[in-house]
């Protein structure tokens, strides 16, 4: 039973009877398929290296400028911080002896290491270096000019303050210009006249003036009528409406206006897309005080604008502390450096005393000058008339004589008009 049924011969026969299997494709098709495959393989052999080469070139393009600027900054670093770079060279030469490479090679390595160390040193000291840079630039540049309008600027001049939105429509910057007094014109007329001469673009602010409206000022009733054309741009969005409101309330504040009547081409009222129909505008009484921050619309090297934010604070001390913090949500920079500490004291009515701590570095440079102006402007809003600064490292900062009480400014952000 277990005996095998198949002999080898039978098996061989069976195997032999396995059917012939044919490939019934056309040989031309086969050849084509082969050609395509071989072509592909050939292609691949040059495609990959060329991709690699292109990538390498791209990398080179990206890296070379970076390396060059690195080198440059490293060079600068050497000039700026001679002592630092010598120390890094020492480290570099130490590395040399450890490495004990060929002479030429070790020289190369020394350079490499040197620049690496410098780069690192630069990384660590970059903020400092930047500040130093700024300082050196500014003290050289000018006998630091203050940015605000002071009493002595006023001789024969009228100061006009315009509320100008910044480019991002985040802040309203009060910009003051000085115009010659003209007995024939009222201050409001001067304000209206000067509107068209503002160079907001040059200052890095939004081109907002002249306002697209006709103004009629009723001095007796402290009332202003704003008559806009039908196609006025102020109701385009809620932002433009809020901006207009802010600007108008600023103007009202500066020009002693209590109420604005809205008109559209002679008809009473303006139809706003978000606020709806409005006949008049009376700004709400705002609480709190204005505290000033820096705005750099033209880059950190430019003269900052001092921009007020309204905050409810208990005292000038709290206000000055708040001014040490950046206000990133508004794109505003702290106006008092973090590392400056001081005590404040109200010596008598309208007189503020600020005593700097010994660690605080108060030197004669432009950023300190602007910080002092920010302090003065904030103090002004807290109804101080003068501020005395004590325990500074210098007696004079820009035009400020620190041995005397400083009068608060008339207005912030003095800018010149084109002739």
């Amino acid at each position: 039973m277990k005996e095998s049924k198949w002999s080898d011969e039978q098996l061989q026969e069976l195997l032999n009877q396995l059917p012939k299997i044919k490939d019934d494709r056309d040989p031309r098709d086969i050849y084509q398929a082969i050609e395509i495959k071989m072509g592909k393989q050939k292609n691949r052999t040059w495609i990959l290296p060329s991709i690699a080469a292109a990538a390498a070139l791209l990398l080179l393009f990206i890296l070379v400028p970076n390396l060059m600027s690195w080198q440059e900054s490293a060079d600068k670093q050497v000039e700026l911080k001679a002592d630092r770079s010598t120390s890094s060279e020492q480290i570099a030469s130490e590395n040399n002896t450890i490495l004990e490479a060929k002479e030429e090679d070790s020289e190369l390595i020394a350079q490499d290491k040197g620049s690496e160390e410098q780069d690192q040193a630069q990384l660590f000291t970059e903020p400092e270096a930047e500040i130093n840079d700024e300082i050196s630039k500014k003290t050289v540049e000018s006998e630091s000019s203050p940015t605000a309008v002071y009493e002595e600027d006023l001789a024969g001049k009228e100061v006009l303050t315009y509320a100008i939105p910044d480019k991002a429509a985040q802040n309203i910057v009060p910009v003051s210009v000085l115009v010659d007094e003209n007995p024939a014109r009222t201050k409001f007329e001067l304000f209206e006249d000067t509107m068209s001469r503002l160079t907001e673009d040059k200052w890095g602010l939004e081109d907002y003036y002249p306002l697209k409206a006709n103004f009629t000022y009723d001095r007796g009733n402290k009332m202003l009528t704003v008559d806009v054309p039908a196609d006025h741009p102020y109701s385009m969005s809620s932002t433009t409406e809020i901006l207009l409101e802010k600007v108008l309330s600023n103007i009202m504040n500066n020009l002693d206006i209590e109420k604005i009547n809205f008109m559209t081409e002679g008809e009473i009222g303006i139809e706003f897309s978000h606020y709806g129909y409005r006949k008049e505008f009376i700004p709400e009484n705002s609480n709190g005080n204005l505290i000033y921050y820096f705005l750099y619309p033209n880059g950190a090297d430019s003269t900052p604008f001092l921009v007020p934010l309204r905050e409810e604070l208990n005292s000038i001390k709290d206000a000055l502390l708040a001014m040490k913090k950046n206000r990133t949500e508004n794109n505003l920079q702290a106006s008092i450096p973090e590392d400056i500490d001081f005590e404040t004291e109200e010596i008598q009515d309208g007189k503020l005393l600020i005593r700097f701590n010994n660690e605080s570095e108060i030197i004669n440079d432009e950023s300190t000058l602007h910080a002092i102006e920010a302090i003065l402007l904030t103090a002004k809003d807290f109804d101080f008339d003068t501020v005395k600064l004590e325990n500074a490292d210098v007696d004079k900062i820009g035009k400020f004589d620190l041995t005397e009480e400083l009068k608060v400014p008339i207005a912030a952000n003095k800018r010149d008009l084109p002739n």
């Binding site: 069976l14 032999n16 059917p19 012939k20 299997i21 086969i30 071989m38």
Partner: protein, 183 residues
């Protein structure tokens, strides 16, 4: 068309194709593999020194192609096995019998199935020796083996085939008996 290809096609195409088919038991795969054989042949045709016959040279290339394909397939199969452990059995069975085999009588279908149960070496020898009727010498040449290795492998292959075919028969018989007992 390339003259080398033309010549090789006329002389050996169906042989090579059939060989590959019985190795991989899948027509489409065999069609791909035969193309791969041509690619390898055309690339190295100049190197062909005529030491061996063209035929055995082609078979040796076909054998390499088949083995490479098994390697690829194995990797691919193993990966699937890890994920669907339960499905491996089905994967094998799912391969349908090609038309040409399906119309043959039962014993031929059986031996066709049992080819799978041999090792690759054994299958190579069986196909070359009995389906393509290469001589021992030619087979040894194609495989790069000695003749005695071909002989022993062939012997073992036949033994394995025989055993599995008997197993199949016995199994069938037992099934039949089982049914009978139930009745």
């Amino acid at each position: 068309m390339d003259s080398v290809f033309d010549e090789l096609y006329k002389k050996y195409h169906q042989d090579v194709f059939q060989f590959l088919f019985y190795m991989v038991k899948n027509k489409e795969l065999a069609e791909d593999l035969v193309q791969e054989v041509y690619i390898r042949v055309l690339k190295s045709y100049e190197k062909f020194e005529g030491k061996s016959s063209e035929k055995t040279w082609l078979f040796s290339i076909a054998r390499n192609v088949a083995i490479d394909s098994f390697r690829k397939q194995k990797g691919w199969k193993q990966r699937i096995m890890e994920k669907f452990d339960w499905s491996t059995q089905e994967v094998k069975d799912v391969l349908p019998l090609p038309e040409e085999i399906a119309v043959q009588r039962e014993e031929i279908q059986l031996i066709y199935r049992c080819l799978d149960l041999c090792t690759i070496d054994q299958r190579l020898v069986i196909i070359m020796r009995y389906i393509h009727e290469l001589s021992i010498n030619e087979t040894a040449d194609s495989l790069g083996w000695t003749e005695s290795k071909v002989k022993t492998t062939q012997h073992r292959a036949l033994k394995v085939l025989k055993k599995h075919m008997e197993d199949f028969k016995v199994k069938e018989g037992m099934d039949n008996e089982g049914i009978k007992v139930e009745r």
